[in-house]
C-alpha cells in the first residue's frame, strides 16, 4: 500500500506495443520493394545478373550518371514535370471560380452539373485513349506537353472542383458580403481576400493534382512520341533490344520517386487535413 506522503509518482503510461508492431510490419511491407529498387540502382549489371546479393557489394553511381547525362533520359523527367505543372496551373485556374460558384450559389442544374463533373473523374482512361489520340492529332497538338496537360485535366479538374468546394464551403458568405460593402470588385476580392483564406485548400488540391498527373502512364504515352515523351515512356523503352538494362531502369525508377517524396515531405502537416475532407 503506498503511503500518503507527498512524493511525486511516475505516471504509468499505457504501452502501445501492439500498434507499434502492426505499423512496423506494415511500413516494412511498403518499404521493402522500394529498398530493393534502390539497391538495384546502386549495383552494376554484372552484380545484378550474377550471384544474388541482399545489398550492393560494389556500390556504383554509374546508373545515375547515365541518366543524368544522357539527354534521352533526363528530357523524360523534364517533359513529365512540364506537363504536370501545366496541368496543375490549368486545373487550378478553371477550378477556382467554378468551386466558388458551387459553394456559394444555387443555379439551374447545379446539382446535376456537379454530378456530371464527378463522373468524368470516374471515366476510364482506356476509353479515351484512342479518341484523344485522334482528337489531339487532328488539331495538331499531338506530341505536345499541352496535350497531355489538357488530357489529364479531364480527370483532374473535377477532382479540383470537388476538393476546393469543400474548403470553400467553410468560408462564411459574410466575408464576401463585407468585401462588397467595402467596395471590392469581384476579381479583386477573389484574389486579395478569398484566395488567402483557402490557401491550405489550394495546397491540398495542388498536391492531389500533382499526384494524379505525375503517376499516369496510358494517356501520357499515347499522346506523345518524341518531343514530349514522359519518363514513363522512356522507362518502358529499356525493355527490349539487347536485354534489359536493370541498373539504369532501377535508377530511373528511384529518380521518379524523388519528386513525390519531396512533395509529401513538404505537405506532411496537411496530409491528414486534406484527407480529412474526405475528398480525394
Amino acid at each position: 500500500m503506498a503511503d500518503a506522503t507527498h512524493t511525486p509518482r511516475k505516471r504509468v503510461m499505457p504501452r502501445v506495443n501492439g500498434s507499434a508492431v502492426v505499423m512496423g510490419l506494415y511500413l516494412l511491407f511498403l518499404l521493402l520493394p522500394i529498398y530493393w529498387l534502390l539497391t538495384m540502382s546502386l549495383k552494376t549489371n554484372t552484380e545484378i545478373l550474377g550471384a544474388f546479393t541482399l545489398w550492393p557489394h560494389n556500390i556504383t553511381f554509374d546508373n545515375y550518371t547515365t541518366i543524368l547525362t544522357d539527354p534521352s533520359w533526363y528530357t523524360g523527367y523534364l517533359n513529365s514535370m512540364t506537363y504536370v505543372v501545366l496541368n496543375m496551373l490549368i486545373s487550378l485556374a478553371v477550378a477556382l471560380p467554378a468551386a466558388y460558384a458551387f459553394s456559394r450559389y444555387s443555379f439551374m442544374g447545379d446539382k446535376h452539373l456537379f454530378f456530371w463533373l464527378l463522373t468524368n473523374r470516374m471515366a476510364p482512361p482506356a476509353v479515351f485513349a484512342l479518341p484523344f489520340f485522334q482528337l489531339y492529332s487532328s488539331i495538331g497538338l499531338f506530341d505536345t506537353h499541352i496535350a497531355v496537360a489538357l488530357a489529364h485535366a479531364l480527370f483532374n479538374v473535377p477532382l479540383a472542383v470537388w476538393i476546393l468546394e469543400g474548403f470553400m464551403r467553410g468560408v462564411p458568405k459574410e466575408i464576401d458580403e463585407t468585401a462588397y460593402i467595402d467596395g471590392y470588385s469581384f476579381p479583386r476580392f477573389f484574389v486579395k481576400i478569398f484566395t488567402p483564406l483557402v490557401a491550405s485548400g489550394i495546397g491540398v488540391t495542388a498536391f492531389f493534382l500533382f499526384m494524379f498527373s505525375w503517376v499516369e502512364l496510358l494517356l501520357s504515352r499515347t499522346l506523345t512520341s518524341v518531343d514530349a515523351k514522359p519518363i514513363a515512356a522512356t522507362m518502358t523503352r529499356t525493355v527490349g533490344a539487347s536485354g534489359i538494362d536493370w541498373g539504369v531502369l532501377a535508377a530511373a525508377g528511384v529518380l521518379t520517386i524523388l519528386p513525390g517524396a519531396l512533395v509529401i515531405y513538404f505537405v506532411r502537416n496537411y496530409i491528414a487535413k486534406g484527407f480529412a475532407l474526405g475528398r480525394v
Binding site: L54, A98, A123, A126, W214, V215, L217, L218, W246, A272
Partner: protein
C-alpha cells in the same frame, strides 16, 4: 451555408464546362460514332446500327475480361478496406511518429504507375528479385510469367501494396475527427475494444469509408498500367482486365467498332455504380446533418 440563387454563376462555371466538354464530349461522340459504324478501311464508314453492341454482348472475350475484372476488384476491395481500417486504427495519433508514418505510408501513392509495375516486376522475378528468389529458395514454385496463380497473386499483392495507404489515410482522417469524450464514455460504460470499434469508430468513419470504397472500386475497375507492366496481361490473357483488353482492341488491333461499343458499355457500368455510391454518400451526409 444558405446559397443564394444566381443564374450568373454560370459564367464562373464556364471555363470548367468548356474544358471538360472539350475533353469529354467530343471524344465520347467520336466513340459513339465508331460504335455504330463499320469500315472496310480507307476511312469509309457505313452505318452498322447496334451490330457491334450485339457482337460485344455475345463475345466470350469481353465476358471473360469482365469476369476477371470483377473478380480482381472484389478481391482487392475485400483486402484493402479492412486492412486500411486496421492500419488506421494502429497509427499514432500525433507527434513525430505520426508524421513519420504518414510520410512513409504516402510514398507508394506517389510513385508513377509504371514504376509501381516495374518495382514489382523486378521484385517478383526469380533471378533478380528479392521476392521471387526467396520464394524459390524456400521451395515454393513461384513464377508469375508462367503460372496463372502466381500472376494473380502478384498483381493483387501489388495493388494492395500500392493503394491500401489511401484507405488507411482516409480512415485515419475520419478517426481523428472523433472527439475524445466518446472514448471516455465508452470506458465508463465498460465497453470492450470491439464494441468501441463497432458503435463509435465505424459509424463515425462510414462517410469516408464510402468514399474509399467508391474510389478503390472505380480505380481498380479501370486499372491498366501496373498489371500491364508486370504481366502484360499474361500469362496468356489470365490477367487481362477490362482496360487492358480495350486498349489492345483499340490501339493494338485498331478494331474501332468493337472497341467503341466496348468503351460505351464499360463507361456505362462505371457510371451506374458511381451514381449508386454518390446517392448513398449524399444520403449519409444528409443524415449526419451536413
Amino acid at each position: 451555408m444558405n446559397k443564394t440563387v444566381n443564374q450568373k454563376a454560370w459564367f464562373l462555371i464556364l471555363p470548367v464546362l468548356v474544358l471538360v466538354a472539350f475533353s469529354a464530349v467530343i471524344p465520347l461522340m467520336t466513340v459513339v460514332n465508331y460504335s455504330v459504324q463499320d469500315t472496310f478501311g480507307n476511312n469509309q464508314f457505313f452505318w452498322a446500327g447496334l451490330e457491334w453492341f450485339e457482337t460485344m454482348l455475345a463475345s466470350d472475350r469481353m465476358w471473360a475480361a469482365l469476369g476477371r475484372q470483377i473478380a480482381f476488384s472484389t478481391i482487392i476491395l475485400m483486402i484493402e478496406i479492412p486492412l486500411g481500417i486496421f492500419v488506421a486504427l494502429n497509427m499514432p495519433k500525433k507527434g513525430f511518429w505520426a508524421s513519420f508514418c504518414l510520410v512513409l505510408m504516402s510514398l507508394p501513392l506517389l510513385i508513377p504507375w509504371n514504376v509501381v509495375g516495374t518495382i514489382w516486376q523486378i521484385f517478383g522475378r526469380v533471378d533478380i528479385g528479392l521476392l521471387g528468389y526467396t520464394m524459390n529458395a524456400i521451395g515454393i514454385d513461384y513464377n508469375y510469367t508462367q503460372d496463372f496463380y502466381a500472376a494473380w497473386i502478384t498483381v493483387i499483392v501489388m495493388d494492395v501494396w500500392h493503394w491500401t495507404s489511401l484507405v488507411a489515410l482516409l480512415a485515419y482522417a475520419g478517426l481523428q475527427s472523433i472527439p475524445d469524450a466518446y472514448y471516455q464514455a465508452a470506458k465508463i460504460d465498460q465497453a470492450g475494444r470491439w464494441k468501441v470499434f463497432r458503435f463509435i469508430e465505424l459509424p463515425k468513419i462510414m462517410g469516408v469509408l464510402m468514399i474509399a470504397i467508391l474510389l478503390r472500386f472505380m480505380d481498380s475497375f479501370m486499372i491498366y498500367t501496373e498489371p500491364f507492366v508486370v504481366t502484360g496481361g499474361g500469362p496468356g490473357n489470365s490477367t487481362t482486365f477490362l482496360s487492358i483488353d480495350l486498349v489492345k482492341m483499340a490501339l493494338g488491333q485498331f478494331d474501332l467498332g468493337p472497341a467503341a461499343a466496348f468503351s460505351i458499355m464499360y463507361y456505362l457500368v462505371i457510371l451506374l455504380v458511381s451514381y449508386v455510391f454518390y446517392t448513398v454518400m449524399t444520403n449519409l451526409d444528409k443524415r449526419d446533418g451536413h
